[in-house]
Each structure stands twice: as structure tokens, then as C-alpha cells.
Amino acid sequence: MAGVKQSLSVDLEGIRFASPVVAASGCAGTGRELAGLADLRRLGGLVTRTLTFKPSRGWPGPRVAETASGIVTGIGLQNAGVRTFVAEDLPRLARTGIPLVASVGGASLQAYIRAASILRGERGIAGLEVYLSGPDEENEGLPFYSRIDRMAEVVGAVSRLSTVPVFAKLPALLPDLVPAARGCIRAGAHGLTLIDAVPGMVVDVRRLRPRLGAVVGGLSGPAIRPIALAAVYRVAQALPQVPVMGVGGICTAEDAVEFLLAGAWAVQVGTALMVNPSAPTEIAQGIAQYLHAKGLASPDDLRQQMRLTGERHARGASAS
């Protein structure tokens, strides 16, 4: 295995992550918080919480409820608005030197365009991620992802005015993800992020009421890992040339490798950051060890591995 020159860095349509492990949207704070607990500079990259044109206070509490191997959160995109982000958080985040992906959201096509325009050309922003799980004013408040044409409109508009690569963040809740993924790529997205938290609910049987102020929130954490992995696999099979960031329940290097084998170009870590602030660093180290053990040079090599084992294997024989 020695001799193979190894690098963890990956290139997604021009965004160069020093490691394939990126902090997921809404889970890494403003860059201030993790300081002292983890070295931001050791993240492959960071996706900001979803930024909206207008500030949002988000949902009333409670905003988190624990469930089996997961959490259901109803935050409601609390953020001070994209302008404040650019003025207050961006400079600090930029100083880390890691690629920043700004997540943009809104309740109408206009709102997305406004938010994206403010970010346009901002130094320190390496890419955009389009949040599509929010309510669409122009479609009875149903999520944007409930109509491929609406997703395409929004993603298209953002892509046209963006000077950096744009990733569309898709939910798992589609009968068939592939047409949605194609729609976003055709509309101009450079890549995809799979998956967003899955709509979920917890009821307090003692108090006879939903646990969350939002009533229905988003399920995240290890519970959804198989769902996210299936989503990544299906899209990667259909669109092998499209860079996909896999996200959902990733806590360990082994979890991350599952996604890279299934076809992800990079992974994002969300809920695990709440539990273990240094998870991304540990995961990156574990991926390096795995690559070394398999005699591979780069995370990109893993993408090919599953297809390569086409021939018959005797059961019980280990592949390595």
C-alpha cells in the first residue's frame, strides 16, 4: 500500500475542499461558537445556516425533541438576514480560509433572487446551496420541492446570477429523486446536496400535545442514514457526472465511507456536530486510514469501488 501518494482533497466543480468532510447547513453556527472546541480550519468546508433576504425569528419553542437515534428539530431558519450575515459573520468565517458555501432560502422566487444577489461576488464565498424545503408562497405554502418546475425556476434563477458553483439541496421525500435531480441540473445547478432533514413529529403523551412549537419538524441523525444513502446511490447511479454531497446521519468515518462508496463526492456532517464538535476532523482522519488500508489515493477513487466488485465473491472471503 505504501507508494500510493494520498490526498484527501476533492474538487466539486471548482470548489476545492481540503477534505471531503463539510459542516452541514444550520449545524455549525456563525464560526464563533466552535472556536475553542474544534479548529474550523480543519473542516473541509462549511455550509452556512440558510440565509433569507428578510430576517427570520424562526419557530416558537420547543425546537428540538429527541427520538430513536435521531432528533426532530423545528428551527424555522432563524437568521438575521443575508445582509447582516455579510456584514457580521462572513468576515470572521472568511478568515478561516476554508471554502464557504452560503445556503440561500426564501418564500418566493423574488426572495431567493434578492438573497442571492446580495451574496453575488462576495469574496470568501466559494459556492451556494439552494434550500428547497421551505414553503412556496406562490404554491399554497407547499415546499418548493413538491414541484420540479418550481425547483427548476428557483435553482435556475440563483444559478444565472451566481458567480460561484450552485448546489441544489434535495429532500428524500420524493417518489423518484432522479427527475428532480435532473431538473435542477438542467436548470443550471452545478451539483446536488442530498438529503435535507425528513419531516417528522413527536407527540408528548403526558401533555397531549406535539413536542415542537413547529408541530412537524425535520428528523436528522443516524436514524435517517439509510434513507440518505439510498438517495445518494440512486442519484449517483443515474447522474454519475454530477457532484453530489451526501448528508444524513454521518457520525463516523465508516458512515462517511458508505456515502463515498455509494457515489457521493463529499459528505456533510450536521447532527453529529451537536454531539461531538470534532466529528468532522475525526471522520477525515478515519477516511484517510481507510484509503490507506485499501491502497487508494483519493476519496474520488471510492466512487468507483462498488461498481468494480461486479465479479462473484465467495461469501465470507474478505474483499481487502
Binding site: 461558537e33 435521531g70 432528533i71 428539530t73 414553503p135 425535520g218 456536530l273 451537536m274 464538535p277
Partner: protein
């Protein structure tokens, strides 16, 4: 804020509570009353979030230097697991977290009001106040005797103390608010500190506002990260200039707040709406919205 593998020096029961003392100098040296620590759960469990506990003791000097104590009521899976962990095992701990109680500048008479495990941080505060030459009086409440927090030690820490339990099993029968006015008057109270359940905090807050007594309360709100990353733990707090309110993170801007500025109607309301009012800043048509 530091994260470390901290050895358990000892873990013991008193009444309904479990007390754990850790060797955690990096945290103990910085810890102040009102702050808290978070403890990671074992990886093979179904419950994944860290658990959060107020700091009850943090010794900087003397024989116990570098140790930290927290006290809890083992009623759910996480705390039950924690209560079983034996001495000399290690815990993954982050702290000190959050903003501490502020001390009054002038020498003043402080009334410390707590209920149940809320007393944990209040005892720490009492020590620090006395060390600064303030007068400390206490109102100590609980549902019943086993949940009454170290009444003997409380006596040692305070000039006067009134004990109340909901069932009257010890002290007066009733709730802390039945006695706070009397206590405040008797002690010539100038500042009030409180920790405990939400309804109790609200009543104390309303009393302080009427009586124009400056006060600070330590709140508890469901937390995911405890470190400011996720905005799960917010409390609605009215702006200084009164122009509306902001949702502030209890783990970062709190858990200690000025009760006069907490938007109680909103924070303590638990209306269950079939379709909840949408996040502010968003349209009123929200038929579904995860995340």
C-alpha cells in the same frame, strides 16, 4: 469553554438526587454560578444528545481544587444512565457553558429563590455572593421532601431560609411564591435571583417587576448542541429599546436572563395549533415545513 475526558471522583445519591464530582480543572477554574456543563451519552444508545447540568460546585483552591460538581434528578434514560456510572470512569464533558449570574456592585441584600434541582446553581451563587460580602436569604421549594435540596447546607449559606413543599411534607405547604413577598420584605431584599420551573420563574418575575426589584433568572430550555450552533434553545427576549423581541439562545446568551425582558406570554404559552403560526419573516401560508 473546554471539552475534556473528565474522571469521576465520586458519584453519590442524596434524596431523589444524584451528585457527580469530576476532576476537570480547565472547567472548574473558569466556572461561575449559573453556568452549566454538557455530558455526552454512550455511543451505542438510542438517545444521542448530550445532557446539560448546572454547575453546583467548582473548587479553584484547597483540597478539592480543580473539581466540579453537578447534581441531577435521574428521571429519564440519559440521567438514569449517568447515575449508574461509577467513580473513576470518564465522562466527555464540555463547559463552562452559558452566561453566569451577575453580582450586584454595591453591597446589597440578595434573596435566592429556587425549586427542585434549580437550587443546584443557586447554592453555588450563594457562596460567591457571601464571599463578596452580600447578605443572602433563601426560599427553597420542592414538590416533596426527597426533592428538597440540602436544607441544612442552605441554612449554613443564608441569613434566613424559608422551606416550602407542594405536599407540605417539610416546611410550609404551598409554592415558593406564597412566601417570596414575605421573605423579601423581612430581609429588605434589594436583588432577587431565581432558578426553577418556568411557571415559578414567571411568577417571581412578575413580583419583581411590580416591586421594581432587579432580578436574574436561570432558565432551562430543550437544547441540542448546548454550544450555540443550532438555535434550538431560544427564549424570546424583548429588546432594550422595546422595539419587538429577539429569540436568544439559552445556551449562549443565557441561561441567565433579566426576567423583566423575557417575553413571558410567548415563552410560557403552549397553545397547540393544528397548523402553527409560521416563523416570523415568512408568509402566513405554511402547509408544511421541516427543518
Amino acid at each position: 469553554m473546554r471539552r475534556l475526558r473528565a474522571e469521576i471522583l465520586n458519584s453519590r445519591k442524596f434524596g431523589a438526587f444524584q451528585s457527580i464530582t469530576l476532576v476537570a480543572p480547565e472547567i472548574a477554574d473558569r466556572a461561575r454560578p449559573g453556568q452549566f456543563v454538557s455530558v455526552a451519552m454512550p455511543e451505542d444508545r438510542r438517545f444521542i444528545l448530550r445532557r446539560h447540568f448546572s454547575i453546583h460546585q467548582a473548587s479553584r483552591r484547597g483540597g478539592w481544587a480543580g473539581t466540579l460538581e453537578f447534581v441531577f434528578d435521574p428521571h429519564g434514560p440519559g440521567a438514569e444512565w449517568l447515575a449508574e456510572v461509577k467513580a473513576h470512569h470518564f465522562l466527555d464533558v464540555i463547559g463552562p457553558l452559558g452566561r453566569a449570574f451577575a453580582y450586584p456592585r454595591a453591597p446589597s441584600n440578595c434573596l435566592l429563590v429556587s425549586e427542585g434541582h434549580g437550587a443546584s446553581s443557586i447554592f453555588f451563587l450563594a457562596q460567591e455572593l457571601r464571599a463578596r460580602g452580600k447578605r443572602v436569604d433563601m426560599v427553597l421549594g420542592a414538590s416533596e421532601e426527597s426533592h428538597l435540596f440540602k436544607p441544612i447546607e442552605a441554612k449554613r449559606l443564608s441569613q434566613t431560609i424559608i422551606v416550602v413543599t407542594a405536599d407540605g411534607s417539610v416546611g410550609a405547604r404551598g409554592s415558593v411564591m406564597d412566601v417570596v413577598p414575605r421573605a423579601a420584605q423581612g430581609a429588605g431584599t434589594e436583588v432577587i435571583y431565581a432558578a426553577g420551573p418556568r411557571p415559578m420563574l414567571r411568577m417571581v418575575a412578575e413580583f419583581c417587576m411590580e416591586q421594581r426589584i432587579p432580578a436574574q433568572v436561570a432558565v432551562e430550555e430543550e437544547m441540542a448542541c448546548g454550544t450555540g450552533l443550532c438555535f434550538a434553545c431560544v427564549v424570546p427576549v424583548i429588546r432594550k429599546d422595546g422595539s419587538g423581541y429577539d429569540n436568544l439562545r439559552a445556551c449562549t446568551e443565557g441561561p441567565v436572563f433579566n426576567p423583566a425582558r423575557v417575553f413571558w406570554d410567548r415563552w410560557t404559552s403552549e397553545e397547540t395549533r393544528a397548523i402553527p403560526t409560521p416563523p416570523e419573516g415568512f408568509p402566513s401560508v405554511v402547509s408544511s415545513w421541516p427543518g
